[in-house]
Amino acid sequence: MNDNAPRTGLYGLMAEFTTPEQLLDAANKTYAAGYRQMDAYSPMPVEGLADAIGFRKHYVSQAVLAAGLTGCVGGFSLLYWIAKIAYAHNVAGRPFNSWPAFIPITFECTVLLSALMAVFGMFAMNGLPQPYHPVFNVPEFARATKDRFFLCVEAADPLFDKERTREFLSTLTAYEVADVEN
């Protein structure tokens, strides 16, 4: 997509719900109806919602594991290199490769790289920060941080049809269904 081109047209349809149970139920039904390009918005975590919209596989945990192992091996190697190769000093007759003494630093490096990867990997894979998002064009959406629950089916979905999707969403106990302009 050319980011400089003015965005026009319909981004999707957004259904508004008053309770998390309704949102979860609607998400399950929408997924069952074959829609895949959708997102749910809620003021608090709703158990099972990510699964319901088909968000099953994400790579943050694998990335964190890889970063943690890198930190573990890197931290230990760093100390091994310092204590045994670069600055080999005899400390109270202990062996140069005094591995028990290396463990705290190894542990800290593991935690450090894991934590950094967890935060920044999450941002990168989320696509955050995102200064502009079409869903904010719906005035009611401001309540997504307070007391309302939203499900947005995006126009990019192959099954998306403005009339039929609207009809479908209105069967889902939605409080209101709004057009989301780009």
Partner: protein, 398 residues
Amino acid sequence: MSEPNVLIERISRSQRTALIIGIVGIAATFAGLAVNKTQFTYSWFYGSLFWAGLSAGALGLYLLNNVVGGKWGAIIRRFLEASAKVLPYTFIPLAIAFFLPGAMHTLFPWVRPEFLKDPAVAHKIAYLNPQGFTIRFIIYLLFWTFLGYRLSSRTDIQDKTKDHAEGVAIQVRMRQFSAPMLLLFVLTSTFAFFDWVMSLEPTWYSTIYGAMYLIGQVLAMLALSIILLVRYSDQSPFKETINMPVTHDLGNLMLAFTMVWAYLSFSQFLITWAGNLPEEIQWYQRRFTHGWGYVAWTVSVFHFCVPFFILLHRFVKRNPKLLATLCVYMFLMRFLDVFWLSQPPLRPELSVSWMDLTALAGIGGIWFFLFFQQLKTRPLLPLNDARLIAMRHEHHHA
């Protein structure tokens, strides 16, 4: 309400099996007393120490959950209560281990006259003497009995109340009671494990020891609770209450306690290793030589590394059967760790006697008999716990 009877029937069957194992095991071990009294003392001490520690671990975990909250504690509460209420009975085998004529002399060097000349021991005699040991033994017994029975009587009252607000108020009062009691419990158990295990080597000391030992037994109790929970999960009342997030929470706690155990164990090792003082390192020298080194490495790898990497996986924590299998494995590892902690000063050369196994199985059999008895007499889940009511509600919607 016919369904809970299936579970009660199952528990009764396990109880009968446990009683048979218990009687046979204890009879066999006492037969060993006639053959080799020293070995009997070592083995009996090991067996009674493990099961007493398991009950103490239950009390610790119970107090901790009362303070910090969490649904996981509500769902395993009856296991913890039953285990904590068996704690007074575990003092009977412990008393046999310590107070059988000559036993204290066999186990603890600080009662032997030749050790009193050692300056490292001499100045500890004000604390380490048979009178003080006995008085403290009684204090631990009374205080821990009070804690277990007092708290579980509160939840009995909660079971009977009809008023939701009253149920919540009992929860709050239990939290207020448990916070200072947790502090006192960790202190008393630290001294208990100093007395019972650390003083096997009176020249040596480690201030982290009590916490390290206790956390190990908390881990064992958590593993046992998960095993029972998964075993009973196909029946009412667990069937309509347990949901995936709570078993996932318990799996995460297994990971956390495995890591805390490793953290405390390694901290003690690292400080001792770095200090490199003759009277401190002998504790590890004893445990890394004469065959004990194999046990040490087995415990490091199979009690920490292996379960750590397995428990990192989400699918293990989300699969109750798999999680319970891992918990059985961890429980077996606890046998090994307690053996490694308590036995090297008694038998410098690594050896396993048949009496170790019969004492562990025999005392364990009676422990389970009493544990299941406690479990049977009360509803298997607290009746008016707000957390469980909320979970049952979620279950209906899921």
